[in-house]
């Protein structure tokens, strides 16, 4: 009988241990948050204002704030990102400039989120004089998501067959006509699903909004895009480190964490389902 090598056994044992650790880590994370956050979650928690120095009540303003900021993020990031992707994939020629653009995109995705925060403070809060508000925070996050949006959009454009472009050109379409009528309609769904993933990350980000508009506590909903706001991730940070009665508000912190990851996962899941659907349509 063959004797299995001892190093093989140990080695593959380690690989199994690695995978096991990753899986266990996720299970612990989810189990802890779901089991301890579940008790707090109810309609009232979702649709009421915080009360009594945030020791009671709900997280409605944080939910609204995160929603509004993410909308601004999308409004800045999607058109700019798509435009850049269209340039790179449809117009740009392989040259130095093109390489410079691609290098910039890769580097932007590695810039620490707090550095985007610093940039946002100067550009939006001070120079453009918008103050700390939803608009400033949303645009800061919009810049942060830009590299992801560009990459996702270019991916979607690459999936449109070359023959659609050539066919349109051969019929006398101008370049823009061929892109607008025969490329974008088939690329936009893919662009959007890719973009949602980036937006979900933005919705969970804290560092870039720390100084650009997120507020500790505001007893009313934002009146306009020029108001400061409460946000789910920032609220979680406050409730777990900055509150005067940290242990008392721990359940609220857990509830906030659960709502935040539920939101992020819902966005991710939406994107995954949409992508799956798209793939099926393309197959048919």
């Amino acid at each position: 009988m063959k004797k299995p090598h001892i190093s093989d056994m140990l080695g593959f044992g380690f690989l199994r241990f690695s995978v096991g650790t990753v899986i266990v880590a996720l299970i612990i994370i989810l189990f802890d948050i779901i089991s301890k956050g579940r008790g707090v979650i109810c309609w009232k928690f979702l649709i009421t204002m915080p009360k009594n120095g945030m020791t009671e009540g709900g997280i409605l303003p944080a939910i609204i704030g995160t929603f509004l900021v993410t909308v601004i993020t999308a409004l800045l990031s999607i058109p700019l990102g798509m435009g850049c992707a269209i340039y790179l994939n449809e117009y740009a020629r392989e040259n130095m400039l093109n390489r410079l653009i691609r290098m910039s995109i890769r580097n932007l995705s590695g810039v620490p989120s707090i550095v985007y925060g610093l940039f946002g403070v100067i550009l939006f809060v001070q120079v453009m004089n918008l103050g700390t508000c939803i608009l400033s925070a949303g645009m800061t996050l919009g810049l942060m998501t830009l590299p992801w949006t560009i990459t996702a959009s270019e991916e979607a454009l690459k999936n449109v067959p070359k023959s659609y472009r050539e066919g349109a050109l051969a019929l006398g379409a101008t370049k823009w006509q061929s892109i607008r009528t025969n490329v974008l309609p088939y690329a936009i769904p893919g662009m959007l699903t890719g973009t949602i993933l980036g937006l979900s990350r933005a919705a969970g980000e804290t560092a870039p909004i720390l100084f650009t508009g997120a507020a500790f506590f505001i007893p009313f909903l934002p009146k306009s895009l020029f108001s400061q706001f409460m946000a789910l991730p920032y609220h979680l940070y406050i409730m777990s480190t900055q509150h005067h009665a940290i242990s008392k508000v721990r359940p609220i912190a857990y509830g906030t964490a659960l709502v935040l990851i539920a939101l992020v996962f819902a966005m991710n899941l939406g994107a995954v389902i949409a992508r799956y659907r798209l793939r099926k349509i393309k197959m048919e």
Partner: protein, 295 residues
């Protein structure tokens, strides 16, 4: 038809400008950090800023001091610690996925990795406080478990998805013939993995670790929440530490605009930007060369 040609040129021009947006933002960030830092370095000497561990910008009786050396050390300590945990686990998981796992297992593990990547950093930081901290406190008999080790563990969790997916890509792109040749020579599967496949995929794996490292260095919320934020030169992983990102996060909200202290925080931002930029460039070069070799 002259009109339509003009319109086409306009559209091309607009997209060209739009294409430059990434360059503009990157250069803009850099230029802004540099100008603000220059204002800081009018008051602070560069060598003192980088190599003195004395950070006391709000001193009232003595002259304020702006040394970030302990923050630099803390940042690298926490990040390298994270890498020490994440690298073996990440490569191990990647190797498992590429060499051992059946298609079905892969279909379960891959989404798990993606979900892990999607968890917001503030949630990870929160878990550092409520989960990891108490465990560390109990095991090592420290007061609260908010220290460098805690930060490293959390950052490891955050770096894992990047390391796993990039390493898996690297391992997968090793030509099948290498593996077959090794097996045909009588090497075991494990020997083949360690002596042939991993070395062949090494540059991809190194690039993956560098990217993971870059992420860890730039991460703010987890370290802010879980490392205790004590401004001192760390002596061991059980000390509370204050990283560069944490300092910015804590102090920027409290300083008046356009003071030396304010500018000094931008100078920290510049240091962070340069470190992550260099790390990204190196991993980029490694990956690029690697792609060429494979082709």
């Amino acid at each position: 038809m002259g009109h339509s040609r003009f319109k086409e040129k306009m559209i091309h021009g607009l997209f060209f400008l739009n294409g430059l947006v990434a360059v503009i933002v990157l250069v803009g960030i850099f230029a802004l950090l540099v100008t603000k830092s220059i204002s800081a370095f009018r008051e602070i000497s560069l060598s003192q800023f980088l190599f003195s561990a004395n950070w006391n910008p709000t001193a009232t009786f003595v002259a304020p001091s702006y040394g970030i050396w302990s923050m630099i050390v803390s940042t690298f300590m926490v990040s390298l610690g994270a890498l020490c945990i994440a690298l073996p686990l990440g490569i191990g998981t990647a190797a498992y996925l590429s060499d051992v796992a059946s298609a079905r297992v892969r279909e379960i593990v891959k989404p798990i990795v993606e979900i892990l990547a999607g968890i917001p950093s503030v949630v990870i930081g929160f878990l550092g406080i409520v989960l990891v901290g108490p465990v560390i406190a109990k095991v090592f008999h420290t007061t609260n478990g908010l220290n460098a080790l805690n930060g490293s563990i959390l950052l490891a969790v955050m770096a894992l998805p990047t390391i796993i997916s990039l390493s898996e890509d690297a391992l997968k792109s090793v030509p099948k013939s290498f593996e077959e040749a090794s097996l045909a020579l009588g090497a075991t599967k494990w020997q083949t993995l360690v002596r042939v496949k991993i070395p062949a995929a090494l540059s991809g794996i190194i690039a993956a670790s560098m990217l993971g490292m870059g992420r860890a260095i730039g991460e703010t919320m987890t370290v802010l929440m879980a490392t205790g934020c004590a401004l001192e030169m760390p002596k061991s992983f059980l000390d509370s530490v204050l990283t560069m990102t944490s300092t910015i996060a804590i102090e920027l909200g409290e300083v008046p605009y356009n003071t030396t202290h304010y500018y000094a925080l931008f100078a920290i931002g510049l240091v962070l930007f340069i470190i992550t930029f260099v790390i990204n460039m190196i991993s980029d070069i490694i990956l690029h060369r690697y792609e060429k070799v494979i082709k």
